[in-house]
Structures are given as C-alpha cells and as structure tokens.
Symmetry: C2
Subunit: 323 residues, 2 copies
C-alpha cells in the first residue's frame, strides 16, 4: 500500500468521531434531540440513520443549487449515482483494505424452495440474516467512486475532464452525533487530467468552498486532515496523507465550537484512481482530485449557526440558498 | 400468514419479469442499448444497476413536481427516506418471509485487528465478503415502510393522516430490462386511518394517476395485479391478493407494446401495517393505503413514448413536467 490509498471524496472523516462525555454535557446528543423535537430529523431507532423532513431537505436543495451554480463555470458532465455499487468497486478503490469497518456489502436469499423452511424457522428466532448470501453488490463509500470505472481504459484529453456528481454514501459508524450519519449525500466536483491541473482544481475548490460557506454565514476554516485508515498500519497511511497535505477539510462548528466538524473535503488523489482504473493521459497515468460538499453536515452547520427557525435566518443566507 | 401480507407500495412487481427472447428480438436489451448510447443511463457492469445522467434526472424531477402538485391538495406531511433501514423493519413488514429473494441486508467488517490479516488474504482471492458480519441494517423494500414505525403505538385521528414520501427501494432482481432496476425511487402518497377512507384514497389515486399519465401522453390502463410472493405458498397469497383486488397497477408500454410495464401502483394494505406497528384508530386497528409512482419507470415510459430527444416532446408534456 502507498500513501495514496486514501478516501477519495471523503466526507468528513478526518475529524475523530466525537465521544460525547458528561464533561461537556453531551452536546451531540443534545443537538440531535433538538433536531428530533423540531421534526427536522426523525429517529429510526438506529444511531446515525434518520428520516428527513421536507424542511431539512429544503436546506439540502439550497446548498445543492449553490454548489451547482459555482460548478457551472467548469461545464462539467453531471451524473447522479445510486447508493448501490458493484462490490468489486470496493476492492478496486482499496476500501476493503483501508476502511473495512466502514464498508457495506449486500446479502440476499438465494437458496430457493429448498432452504425456505430453514429461513422461516430462522425468521422466528431473528437469525434469518445468517441464511442469506453475498449478492456481489455493496454500498458506495465515496460519491465519486462509481465515476472511475466509466472512464476505465479511456484516453483523457490534455485539458482533462470535469464532472459534477450527486452521490450517496454509506459508512458503518453508528454515532449519537447527528453530523455523523451512516447514509449521507456528497455533492462533488471532480477533475481527471494532468497532475498540476488536478492540484489546481483541489486548491481552487478549497477557496470556492470557503467562500460559499462564508456567504452562508458559517465560521469555517481549512485544515489538513486524514482519512480514518484501519488499524495499526492505517496510522502510517494517515500520517503520510497529512504530511503530503493531500486532504483539506473545511470545518465549522455544529455541536461543539471547540471541536468543529468537517463539512466539506477537498482531496488530491494523485494517481490512485488513475492507476486503479487505467486512466491514461498520453503516455502517463492521469491524476484526479475532487471536492465533496457534505450536504447533511452543511445543513446541520446552518441549523446550528442560524437556529432551527428558518424565518429568522439572515436574508443574505436565504438568498444564497435561493429561498 | 394471511392474504394481507403483501408488498405495500410496490413498484412494478405484478408484471412478470420479461424474459427477452430471440423471438421478439430482445426489445428489452435493445431499448437499454439505446439509453446507454444516448448517455441517459450509464452501465455499471451489473444488470439493473445504472448511473443516471442529468437529462434522465430532469425527467424524474418533472414527474416528482407533477405528483407533489397533485398531492398538495391533501396537505400531507412530507418525508424523504434514505435507502438504508434497520433490518428489523424487513421482519416486521413480513418481507423476509414473503420476498426473501428480493431483500438486501448489510454486512461490514467487525473483527478488529485480530481478523485483519485474514481479511487481507481473502481480499487477494476475492473472498473477503465472507469475513464480514451482519450490521443490523438492510435496504428499504418499499418506500412507505419506514413511515409506519414512526407512528407506532400512536392514536390516529378520526380523519386519518396523510403523508407524501420520497423514497428509495432495493430489489435484488438483476434484469436486462431497463425498467427492472435493482435500485429505484418511489414517490408515494400514503393514507393511514379508517378502512373506508383508506380504500377511497387508493381509488382516488388510481384516477389521479391515470389522469397524470395521460396528460404526460402515455397510453396507460389500470389492471389488477399481485406482488411476487416467494415460492409455492406465495402463489396462494398472490391469488388471494388478486381476488381481493388489493393491488392496482397502472401499466404503460416501455420496451414492448404487448407486455406493458407497471409504472405506478396503488395498494390497499387493509390492517397489515396497522397490526404490525400498533396503529390505533379509537378501539380499532387503523388501515392504510398508498400510491407509489415509479419514477424511473415513468421516465422510461416517457422516453419510449416521446423519443430520446427532449426537444421533440409535445409542448403539453413539457409543460406538465414544468420544463
């Protein structure tokens, strides 16, 4: 493994999962309770898995529109990705090795009539998932990942290619922090092309992201971050990722002013995806870079900053959201 | 099990999966190839799992808006549901027993450092999914299912309650028919309340659905249908569901004029969900009913009817979609 085996468009993974403690009065649970009470999110009984209200979605739509407006100058190809992916994608992106504890793969029932009696008996006992088999499908770990196979083996033109992606992501990390959801959306802008252009794309979008978040009235800063690589070996990968400043997160307060949360992430992938998927740029391997706006987290940062009553939000923020 | 153990808002399951044959020139694969060539859908290498273009999504947004406009007269509570659900929901809705071959449950890695070496070795061989464990999460089988737990044990007011749901659904049924996707969206309008009102809701939405689809220029009719209950026992459940006309599908041509595809489904659940989730209406169990608009299928029916070039679509259709 190399230092390049990082998380792609990552969401918001560089900031350690906050462990709510009595010391600071569990602000994570407290804010989540407020969101539940206001009906903005609806509990499902599973930490990190919530139903969303129309009000919450109206914030997400506003952010989406603001990001698209900024992306339009690049005339990107626009894609919308479902949450489900071929499980092989998790292998090719190295997610199985680097983040096995966060991935999700799908099982279903495939034993036909012959095994159905056993399945029914197991259903009575709640042990039915043991009777299912791997489907060859998994869930998407970072919004831009399904893009790269579509480019596999293709020649990237010298000026590169630009994509805007509406994606969905799964991370198996139950938490009471409302900003750490197990299913969330990333709105990404991706560049594939020459190394210097990829780095420039990342840097330009750090600035654009800071500017957008500030126009939205958020107190935000850019910090060097790392993905949560698995295990002891992962600590080395994380340290290398930080040393090379490959991952920049834009962080803003959500539940805690002291521990701001990553709401947007801008990443240099170097040749990680280019090598894995055979993306050629003349005689060289194409580089890639992306910015991922974490829609649920930006919405929560706005709710934390401006309050749960939209009518009291600043006019400039409402205008930025297209309301 | 009773005759009431049916599929909720089912999509498009009553029409048997078309088995493309040389006899009719495989119109399913042919239309899918056209959609790929036009870039409306992008292949992932897995049948029934596609990336969606912005053009395709613009049709979906138009349909969503048209459905919401019709639903607005009922002043529903509006929810947006993620694809992932607690796996227990699949038990409570009886999906594990009735449609085990269609469900999806999620595994992830939970053995820590101790098992990581084995996982890495398995990753080399492609057998890594065997090293994962059930997470307690699954994928949603019908868009309205996550709604019922939120009402559990609550008293439904005499006039009932109305909901509009933007949901996502997984069905493990790979097919070359572009209308039979493994992940798709249902836009539902749900009623929970008195039995007669639930039946009236279903019937009213059959008419509204027919009207909308006809305004969209589709040749559509309403037919009694059944869900694809599993196995030999399932055939009895399906026959009972048909005999009671609990499920009405609106069908329109997509790949074949002879075998139209269900694009919208209107369902009487009777007390299935009311009993499973303790929904009370005074001293009685509340009934429920829903209509589910199959967004991908309606979009495909429009593409089949009006062609892949939007500019040539009738003005009345474009107007209905808000374009």
């Amino acid at each position: 493994m190399t230092t390049l085996e990082h998380a792609g468009a990552a969401p918001p993974t560089g900031v350690p999962a906050p462990a709510p403690t009595a010391e600071h009065g569990d602000p994570y649970r407290a804010f989540r309770d407020e969101l539940f009470a206001a009906g903005l999110l609806v509990p499902t009984g599973v930490d990190g898995l919530y139903l969303r209200s129309e009000a919450f979605e109206s914030i997400v739509r506003g952010i989406d529109a603001a990001v698209s407006k900024m992306a339009a100058v690049e005339a990107p190809t626009v894609y919308h990705f479902p949450l489900v992916v071929p499980a092989g994608l998790l292998e090719r992106t190295d997610y199985v090795r680097s983040f096995p504890d966060l991935i999700g793969v799908l099982d279903s029932y495939a034993k036909g009539e012959a095994g159905y009696g056993d399945l029914l008996a197991a259903a009575e006992e709640g042990s039915w998932p043991q009777h299912l088999e791997h489907t060859g499908l998994g869930l998407c770990s970072a919004a831009c990942h399904p893009l790269y196979p579509t480019l596999a083996g293709s020649e990237i033109p010298p000026a590169g290619r630009r994509f805007e992606i509406f994606g969905q992501v799964f991370r198996h990390e139950p938490s009471v922090d409302p900003a750490r959801q197990q299913v969330f959306r990333q709105h990404e802008v991706v560049f594939v092309g020459a190394p210097a252009d990829a780095a420039a794309h990342r840097d330009a979008w750090v600035e654009r992201g800071l500017s957008l978040h500030r126009r939205l009235g958020l107190v935000v800063e850019a910090v060097v971050a790392n993905d949560p690589f698995f295990g002891r070996g992962g600590r080395i990968l994380a340290a290398n990722q930080r040393a090379e400043a490959l991952k920049i997160e834009l962080v803003a307060p959500i539940c805690s002013a002291d521990q701001p949360t990553a709401i947007t992430s801008a990443n240099c992938h170097l040749d990680h995806f280019g090598t894995a998927f055979g993306l050629r740029l003349g005689d060289e391997v194409a580089h890639s870079a992306c910015v991922g706006f974490g829609l649920e987290r930006i919405a929560l940062a706005l709710l934390a900053a401006h309050g749960l009553e939209f009518s009291s939000w600043p006019a400039s923020v409402r205008q930025e959201l297209g309301w």
